[in-house]
Subunit: 675 residues, 2 copies
């Protein structure tokens, strides 16, 4: 037969020169968000686990490695992947720096290991392995060619032993030292590298673990009726720090518009004394880069940042990209707004409702590039003042491509910047925003009250691919949302929701002091707006009220800080309990050194009890040994036995228990314990 | 403010000129196999349904279209996508030609529809809509610019009516005719097209619906002990056709090697009279393009093809790419085989087992391109003789890239060629082969016996993404596999497995006559090999045995041909029944004109009964009306009421029922029916 012509093919997956011999398949790499269109997310100090399906035809042994590199570095670091059942392989690396990493997977048929396994089986069966030993010598000699001086000598020594074909040669072939050496010099001529370099975005730890408190600075004055200032805020800081919060989020601090200003309780017309909504941004004094005069100066604001920092609190600002008719943009850049047929600027509306105090920006403007650059400059301006956390108002009503671009741009110069998406909208829209780059996202937690609702939702958030791009930030209330559960459940409802938020979510926040003071009167029955909402007026809160939850909150936040298990959502697991009014879940560190089991009575009115079931082995417990659970809220300790245990919670005294599980350690004193 | 500089960005997803205004997101397009790396599959005459998540910021109305085109045609055909709940959209097109199609999705913010919805709401609320009407006129006039003469006139007329701002103008704006016209001329300046053109491979209907029968031609002689020929096979055709099979699959028909030939019952040494295994391919007379002399000539073979065709039967050949030591390749192309250290060719082994009669081809050979081309020429050779169906032996022991290439190559000249993958191996390997291009695949059906096993496996095959690339072909037995269930279940077991294979799978096959004659003696207890397996000897089957299932099989295959529901797997649904020894499932056509409900008693030894539950509405039944179920196996008819009905099956008489569901049609004669 004559030499066959070169292969022809119409497929774009035609094997190129030599590639026909690359027999390994790599598929189903995880994490991989939308086919690699978006980055997976981790925080500094976390581990990044990567899995892939890897296999080849036949039964040869394979080797597989996880490759990763920090952006800007071209050299890959390699990690061995370990085989799991069903052709799945897994490996992990620690992320230590802010910014983007890239990762991919490489695998190849491992001729040496295939040979070694066959040798072992044949030798065990007493077969003549002379030819096998000679074949092995060839493989080892080829590796020696690639090896450094020292290793080369060792490999050549092994090859020589294999060639001697003595009984000892088999032992040499199976020697672990030889295997370890050969692993250093694999034959990767026909290695397959996964076709994509996947991106991993690494943010600072606060993206994963943060405790938010929202206040209106204008309500911080010590004298009732006075307009609060940044200085008043500064005075409030110790109160906030004592409760254990580390992010203080302020609604917009910019000049407030006069045109169509809303009055108290969102009245269509405002009295002269009405202060307006902070989200109605812009007047003659300025827009998104200016400070509302009554709050103080830029210097006062920076002073607040500094003072907060001393208490380990970061100031988060609100980014609400919308304008009142009085905003300087309206006159300077009318082209950034949509026009009505008469040339006037289109106000916001949700027909038939009209919001004439708000002009939305037009992301379809012909001058969209100028608009984008200006909005970017707003965020950068506040970065320059020292702000690094932004809570973005209604991002789902601005164009998605803008967010991807602007977050990327800001992070290029400020990789420590964090963005929280306040998007209470449809699920796919919320997820898209997270993929586009938001560090954290508001969630439906606010309205998930029952055992099954919570279990289903948080299983989706933490146990599916969602956990790779969406970081939940749980809010039991906001200035816009006083839920029915809080309206009718009294103080126990506030306690239960606080514990749920603080333990289901490594990131959570409350709108205070309304929350700790258990403010629960809605503007109208069936609605979720607060009566006399702080959005439209200055409030004076009595922080010293005896029913305040401030100490309870402090306790819960202290527990969060002390227990690493609560500082991440990845380990969240729900457990069965025979009463649907109770919910049981755990979080634990990977090493199981810190295991927290939380039980919450979801019924704020009645004592509820039930038998819960813990998966002892998953939690590293010996199911035949008793173990201690230590309620970190009350400091009570209980001895539990086996997987099934009884709990009873009276919502009036304690609607929740946060147990630290303390497995028994076998030692002499154990004996005393039972005496 | 000065004109802002152009955008800068480090992201590869930077919006290009104008793209910043493209606000729509298209994601999660289905089907999309491995991020578009592989084609989805359909057959000629089927409908292709495509879904995607489509949404934008805010609340504007969207329009979305499915675009598709046949390979080689650059113009897209467009289909309107319809919105489903939760931002999901769906559309479908019919495939009519063999070969590749491409499809993608396009969507945009629909300004006209957004305007129309807002107009309706504002008009309903009695608001002044003068400015809205003027804005609408502008939108309609812009569309008119794009429109053909006739439509342009109509659109201009509508625009003029809107400009009149009379009460009638609102009605004009909401006129469906205007909406239909506007749909013709959408403003797609900022339309978003999904970033991939996804591939759809269309094969002929037999890829979806086929009924296979496997025989050894050498066992077809009418005189016991004689070596059967293709002419004997031809005589057997009416018997096969009467049973209703349309694919006759022959094990390899090539010269059989002498070296290390296996004797009866796989004995290590063969007697002179032993005929050897047909899968031991190649001797001095030739290899994969030659015919085993005792079977006849190439002309005889082609004659068999022609005769079969007249009975609507296609001949399928076995592609087993392996050689005996006597195969011409061994001397002509020793470079296509792996060498041992002494220069001899490496035989197959699974240490410590040796298969010295088989030399595997070395897909890592330096001459791999020549090898690939030669193997391709083997398939093309048989295509040229008129064969279009290939059952590929152990494809999972040959390099995956080879299969993708060779199937693509063969289909380029023979788009009607079909390939069945005989890969009884790990799940991911089986799925990969299907993705690479195999038309059909053997499955684990062979060993799935219980209600839960069958339900779980076939739900995975038919109700997940697997159904888009993997077409099951169900075999209750093969020459290699006599299952325990068949060994111990007697004739009822054969009947139950036949009905399961023939109704769960639009593609199924049996190895006969062993199957219809209920041959059930294994070579050794606990094994799955047949005693005196036809693989190693010539058998003479008594086709007239009274216990033969030939008539039962004929009946089942007749039912398959008469009922379109059974000719596809996509509609398979399992239903609850309160006895785990019974299984109930349905298949139906999309229009529900043909609904088949199958009940099988999985226990071949005892009568089993139970209450099953049908989802009346899903099946288009009125739950308040009785309906008829007609057992197509026995012709018995039953009147069922509501969703819960009783069944009882005695395996000795009938281990299965295949009901055609006949919903009541309300008419005069109904009355008579109950009299």
């Amino acid at each position: 037969m004559e030499k066959a012509p070169k292969l022809q093919s119409t497929s774009k997956h035609l094997p190129g020169s030599g590639q026909g011999r690359s027999r390994v398949v790599i598929e189903n790499v995880k994490p991989e968000i939308d086919c690699g269109r978006f980055a997976a997310k981790r925080t500094v100090g976390e581990s990044m686990t990567v899995e892939a399906d890897i296999f080849a035809d036949g039964h040869d042994a394979l080797s597989a490695r996880l490759l990763y590199r920090k952006e800007g570095i071209s050299r890959w670091t390699e990690i061995l992947l370990q085989p799991l059942p069903n052709d799945r392989w897994r490996g992990a690396f620690d992320v230590t720096e802010l910014g983007d990493y890239y990762y991919t997977v490489q695998a190849w048929v491992d001729r040496f290991e295939s040979w070694r396994q066959a040798l072992a089986k044949k030798a065990d069966a007493g077969q003549d392995v002379a030819l096998e030993l000679a074949a092995g010598a060839l493989i080892v000699e080829a590796a020696a060619q690639q090896a450094s001086d020292e290793d080369q000598k060792s490999l050549k020594r092994f090859a020589a032993m294999l060639r001697e074909n003595k009984p000892a040669a088999i032992q040499s072939g199976l020697d672990d030292q030889l295997a370890a050496l050969m692993e250093q010099y694999p034959d990767r001529r026909w290695a397959v590298t996964y076709e994509k370099e996947l991106r991993l975005n690494v943010e600072r730890a606060k993206a994963r673990f943060s405790t938010w408190y929202e206040i209106f600075p204008r309500s911080c004055a010590t004298t009732p009726g006075q307009h609060g200032t940044f200085r008043d805020c500064k005075e409030r800081l110790p109160y906030i720090a004592e409760m254990g919060f580390d992010v203080l989020y302020l609604p917009p601090i910019h000049p407030i518009g006069q045109s169509y200003r809303k009055g108290k309780n969102n009245a269509l017309s405002a009295a002269d004394s009405d202060v307006g909504s902070p989200w109605a941004i812009g007047n003659k004094q300025g827009g998104h880069k200016a400070i509302h005069r009554q709050l103080g100066t830029l210097a006062d604001f920076k002073d607040l940042i500094t003072a907060a920092k001393q208490l380990d609190i970061e100031i988060a600002l609100d980014i609400a990209f919308q304008c009142t008719p009085d905003h300087p943009y309206v006159t300077e850049h009318p082209e950034w707004f949509r026009k009505r047929a008469d040339g006037s600027i289109q106000y916001a509306e949700n027909p038939p409702k009209k919001y004439q105090d708000i002009y939305p920006l037009d992301f379809e403007s012909e001058r969209w590039e100028e608009l984008w650059n200006e909005l970017k400059s707003v965020i950068l301006f506040w970065c320059e003042q020292g702000v690094r956390i932004f809570r973005v108002d209604n991002p789902h009503t601005k164009a998605f491509p803008f967010w991807e671009w602007v977050i990327g741009e800001v992070k290029r110069t400020h990789p420590d910047a964090l963005f929280l998406a306040e998007a209470f909208t449809r699920p796919k829209v919320m997820y898209r925003l997270a993929k586009l780059g938001f560090s954290q996202s508001y969630t439906y937690f606010t309205w998930r009250n029952t055992q099954s609702e919570i279990t289903q939702y948080f299983t989706e958030l933490t146990q599916t691919e969602v956990s790779d791009f969406f970081r939940a930030n749980l809010w039991p209330n906001t200035p816009d949302i006083l839920t029915e559960y809080l309206q009718f459940g009294g103080r126990p409802a506030f306690m239960a929701r606080l514990v749920l938020a603080a333990t289901l979510g490594a990131n959570y926040g409350i709108y205070g002091p309304a929350f700790e003071l258990c403010e629960n009167i809605p503007r109208e029955p069936g609605g979720e707006e607060y009566l006399n909402s702080e959005k439209y007026e200055i409030k004076h809160w009595d922080l010293q009220k005896s029913e305040s939850l401030r100490e309870f909150i402090a306790r819960v936040n202290h527990i969060r800080r002390q227990n690493r298990a609560l500082q991440s959502d990845r380990s969240l697991r729900f457990y069965p309990i025979d009463n649907p009014e109770l919910i049981v879940f755990s979080k634990s560190t990977e090493d199981l050194n810190n295991i927290i089991v939380v039980v919450v009575n979801l019924d704020p009115h009645h004592t509820q009890s039930g038998w819960l079931e813990l998966p002892a082995e998953e939690l590293g417990l010996d199911p035949k040994q008793p173990f201690q659970v230590h309620d970190l809220l009350t400091d009570a300790r209980y001895l539990w036995h086996g997987t099934r245990n009884y709990v009873e919670l009276n919502p009036q005294s304690a609607p929740a228990q946060i147990f630290r599980v303390r497995p028994r350690i076998r030692r002499e004193q154990d004996f005393d314990y039972f005496m």
